[in-house]
Structures are given as C-alpha cells and as structure tokens.
C-alpha cells in the first residue's frame, strides 16, 4: 500500500498502553499501601485487606500483559536513544516484568509459609502454595521488602528517564505510551 510509510507505528498499541497505565496505577497504589501499612497501627488492617487481593490482581494483569506483549508489534526506538540506552531500556523492561510476577508470588508464598489464610474478599481465599515453615516465611518476608524497594527504584529510574527525554531532550518519547492517541506529524 502507498500509505505504508505515513502510518508507521509511533505509539504502542492501544492494548499495550491500557495495560501499562493499569499496571502503573495498581503498582503505585500497592507500593504506597505496602510502605504505609508496615508503619501504621491504625490503618494496618484496612490496608492489608486491600494489599492482598490487589497483589493477586497485579500478578494476573502482569501475566496477561506479558502474553499480549509477546504478540504485539512494538514501535521502533527513538533515534535519541543510543545503542547502550536501548539495551538498558530493554533489560529494565524485562526486569520490571519479572518483578511484577515474582513480588506477588513471594507475597502469596510468605503468607502460605506463615500459614495465614490468604483471604481475598469475604469467604474467598487462595490455597497455600508453600508448606508451613516459619523460617521460610522469615526469608520470604525479608525478600518481599527488598523486592519492593527494588521495584520502587526501577520505577523511579524509568520515570526519571522518561522525564529526561520528554523535558530535556524533547524527543516526544512520552507520546509513545501516552494514554491518548497521538497523530504522527
């Protein structure tokens, strides 16, 4: 077709953008709740009651999102990104996907090892995925904190890099993932 070049893909697909912003909203909420609940006496119970089901939702969305990612066409990298930057961006993307799957599994696993009922809502609860072993719980509980900080730092680096490109380099990188449709000019 003659319009092939004109419609060159500049943005991620609608589905990919939807999953990106859905994940962003959920994960930022989760990190906020997680940080606040370990420091709170008054809101601990309310926060953890949201933290458990939302964590499982993050896991489900991360898996669906990764499958969708495998079957989607990606827009090309911008020329403002060096070869090394592209490598770092791809690696950090993979790392984020891994964290989004591993962190909820560690949460689920640690509650299993502590033999807490894994209540989602009302009488709805998940089955344990690990045997009752408190030493295992202690290790996973520590890992859950470390992974939360790693996740926060990776998200912060991702956010900083996009800000740098958008504000300083002004290369319109944000448009690639903007929730709205951006027309090629």
């Amino acid at each position: 077709m003659s319009t092939g070049v004109a419609t060159e893909q500049r943005q991620f697909t609608v589905r990919m953008r939807f999953f990106h912003w859905l994940t962003a909203a959920m994960v930022l909420t989760m990190l906020g709740i997680g940080l606040a609940m370990v420091a709170s006496l008054a809101y601990y119970h309310r926060l953890i009651s949201i933290h458990r089901p939302l964590g499982i939702l993050v896991l489900i969305v991360a898996v669906i999102r990764y499958i969708n990612r495998r079957y989607s066409t990606l827009p090309p990298f911008l020329p403002t990104m060096s070869q090394r930057e592209r490598k770092v961006a791809s690696a950090s993307e993979l790392f984020l996907y891994a964290l989004l799957v591993v962190q909820p599994l560690v949460g689920w696993g640690m509650l299993s090892a502590a033999r807490y009922p894994i209540t989602l809502y009302g009488a709805l609860h998940l089955f344990p995925i690990l045997p009752h072993n408190v030493m295992l719980y202690a290790v996973l509980r520590r890992a859950h904190t470390i992974l939360a900080y790693l996740l926060s730092l990776t998200i912060l680096a991702h956010f900083g890099a996009v800000l740098f490109h958008t504000w300083v380099l002004r290369d319109g990188i944000f448009n690639r993932m903007a929730p709205w449709r951006v027309r090629a000019h």
Binding site: V139, R142, V168
Partner: protein, 352 residues
C-alpha cells in the same frame, strides 16, 4: 540562554524524581521517627522484658493445646460464619501468661491468655486471642505502649519506678477505672477454671444481612475455685503443671458465649464493660483434650492474629484491633527468623 534552559529542565527532572521518592518515604514513615509504629512497639516490648530469641514478644510462656468446637447451631441467627453451623470443627490453641519472659515463675495474679484457632471446613479460619480479665486495662495502642514503658524496671533497683506508673495512671482515668473492674473480679485457681474474654467488640452479620455488635467469652465448665494466694508457690510452673495434669486426666471444656450489644454500648472502648443484662447466647462448647509443649507443638509457629476472621464476622471501630493485628504480625515476623528454645515449660514437663 539555551544552556540555562537546558540546565533548568534537567534540574526540574531531578527535583520531580526526588519528590516522588520522598513521597514514598513519607508514606513509609521515614520522616516521622517519633510515630508509634509496629516496629517501635516491638522494640518497647524488647526493652522492657528483654530479648528472648524465638519467643512471642508478649505472652511468651505458654503451652499448645488441641481439641474441637462443637457448635449447637444457635449462633447462626447472629452470624453467617461457617463456625456457627451445627457441627464440629478442629481447634488449635495456646494457654499463656502475659509478659515477654518465657522463664518467668507463675503467679496467680498474672494475666492468663487463651488463643484459639478454629479450622473451618471451607478453608477459612477464625483466630481469637483472649485473656482472663473482663475488660482491657487500656483504651488505645498509645496508652498500652505508655503503660508498658511505665513498667520498665529501673536499672538501679531492678523494679519498676512507682512514680512512672503513678504518672501514667494520673493521665489515664479510664485505666484506673478498668483496673478497679479487673480487681473486683475474683481470680480462679488455674487456667482450667478461668473465663477468657475476647475484650474487643466485633460485628456479626447473619444471612439476612443484619449486623449486630458483639463481644465473646469462654466460660469454663470446670467449677470455679478461688486462687490460692499464699506464698511460697509450689513450683515456678505450678499453673501450667496443673493445666497439663488436668488435660491428661480428662478433656477440659468451655462454653462460647456471645454477648449482644445495644446501640449505645461502646464498641470502641475495651476498658468499658457492657451491662450484664445484655442478651447472652451460648453457641457451643470448646473441648481441649491434648496438650503439647510450645517448643515442638503446633501453636508456636502460628500468629493468633485477632483479625483473622471468617466471613460473617468483622472488626469494630476499637482502635486496639488493628494495632493488635499489626504488632502481633511484627512479633511473629521477628520470632519466625530466630533460633528457637523451649520455655520453662519444657517438652518433658508436658509429658508428666
């Protein structure tokens, strides 16, 4: 000009990123080191009672028990919780004495605890941690913490400073009132004939969606006998030894009594009793027929978090509930990773 703008935008990027990081650290309490957090609470217990590796921060000395709950079905009109359907569910429990020292000598006036975990057939659980006082001594988590610190032994005398406790009581009239109620309540001779109270209020919701405020207690079938307060005590484990011997002899039983609150009964203040005239429903019988050491028994590695509730039960607005859940969890996490030792009630002691 262009360079200045460039630099300004770069600095702006840095500020926004730092701001985002700061917001998260704020949520995590990094900028309010004085706030009472679960971790500070746990540190307070360790400061006052000492550090005992692998033990609960409070109610450290205890034994595991097991048995079942036989529901008579009368609770179903109060709550749709599966535990109240007529039938039997297995129970894991733990008797304990208050305080963080697992080697403490038994005294009749020490607060006795009973934690129970009901394993429901659909995989849900009900966990409740009760004590043998009819009301709780303090109203808020902060008051609990302040009272705890007031009991810290003075390094010079080895005893708590009476002035500190006097200062605490002077600023907490509700604690004075609660202490009066607790003192007027006769202490029984042992664990087996003690009544255990859930203290905090909860909400029960039945199948038709009606919610009521409740408090619960476990009333012993074993006959009451007043505590013998003459000294010296027969043995440093005499309360536990008597419990162990009694369970070896025959199963011990308690009736689970649900007290139904009226609209003006406080649900957010565990220091205030509800009137005795409130309707009380006997919903079934707890039978405890075996006992094991805390060291190798099944209760040590369980957190009797009072907010592990089945569908049909919900927490009230009592500020102690969320705080108990948070601090129990902190205590559980700390001891989970520590080396475990037997308490003064050793495994051979439980076989006697």
């Amino acid at each position: 000009m262009a360079d200045t703008r460039h630099f300004g935008r770069l600095a702006g990027t840095g500020i926004v990123v730092l701001g985002a990081a700061g917001a998260f650290l704020y949520l995590g309490g990094w900028f309010s080191p004085e706030a009472l957090t679960p971790a500070r609470f746990a540190d307070g217990f360790e400061r006052v009672d000492g550090i005992y590796s692998g033990f609960r921060l409070n109610h450290a000395k205890g034994v595991c028990v097991g048995g079942s709950f036989e529901s008579n079905g009368r609770g179903t009109r109060l709550s749709k919780a599966v535990v109240f359907k007529a039938g039997r569910v297995p129970i894991t429990g733990r008797f304990s004495l208050a305080g963080g020292n697992p080697y403490v000598a038994d005294e009749p006036e020490m607060v006795r605890g009973l934690g129970l975990l009901f394993k429901l057939p659909d995989g849900e659980e009900w966990r409740t941690a009760m004590i043998n006082t009819p009301v709780f001594g303090v109203h808020t988590p902060q008051a609990f913490y302040d009272r705890l610190l007031a009991t810290q032994p003075d390094p010079k005398t080895g005893k708590p400073d009476p002035e500190k406790m006097a200062a605490f009581l002077a600023s907490h009239p509700e604690a004075v009132q609660a202490a009066k109620i607790i003192k007027s309540h006769p202490v029984s001779s042992g664990f087996a004939n003690s009544t255990y109270y859930g203290l905090n209020a909860f909400w029960f919701t039945n199948v038709s969606g009606t919610s009521i405020p409740v408090r619960w207690s476990m009333v012993p079938v074993q006959a009451f006998a007043a505590a013998d307060t003459t000294e010296p005590r027969p043995d440093k484990n005499y309360l536990f030894d008597a419990l162990i011997a009694a369970i070896h002899q025959h199963p011990l039983q308690w009736r689970l009594i649900i007290m139904i609150g009226q609209p003006n009964d406080p649900t957010n203040d565990a220091t205030v009793p509800w009137p005795d005239t409130r309707e009380q429903v006997d919903v079934g019988t707890v039978t405890l027929d075996h006992v094991e050491s805390d060291y190798n028994g099944p209760c040590r590695n369980i957190n009797v978090d009072p907010l592990v509730l089945p569908e049909g039960m919900a927490p009230s607005d009592d500020p102690l509930l969320s705080a108990r859940s948070a601090v129990y969890s902190q205590s559980f996490t700390r001891r989970a990773g520590e080396k475990k030792l037997p308490s003064a009630v050793t495994p051979p002691e439980v076989l006697k």
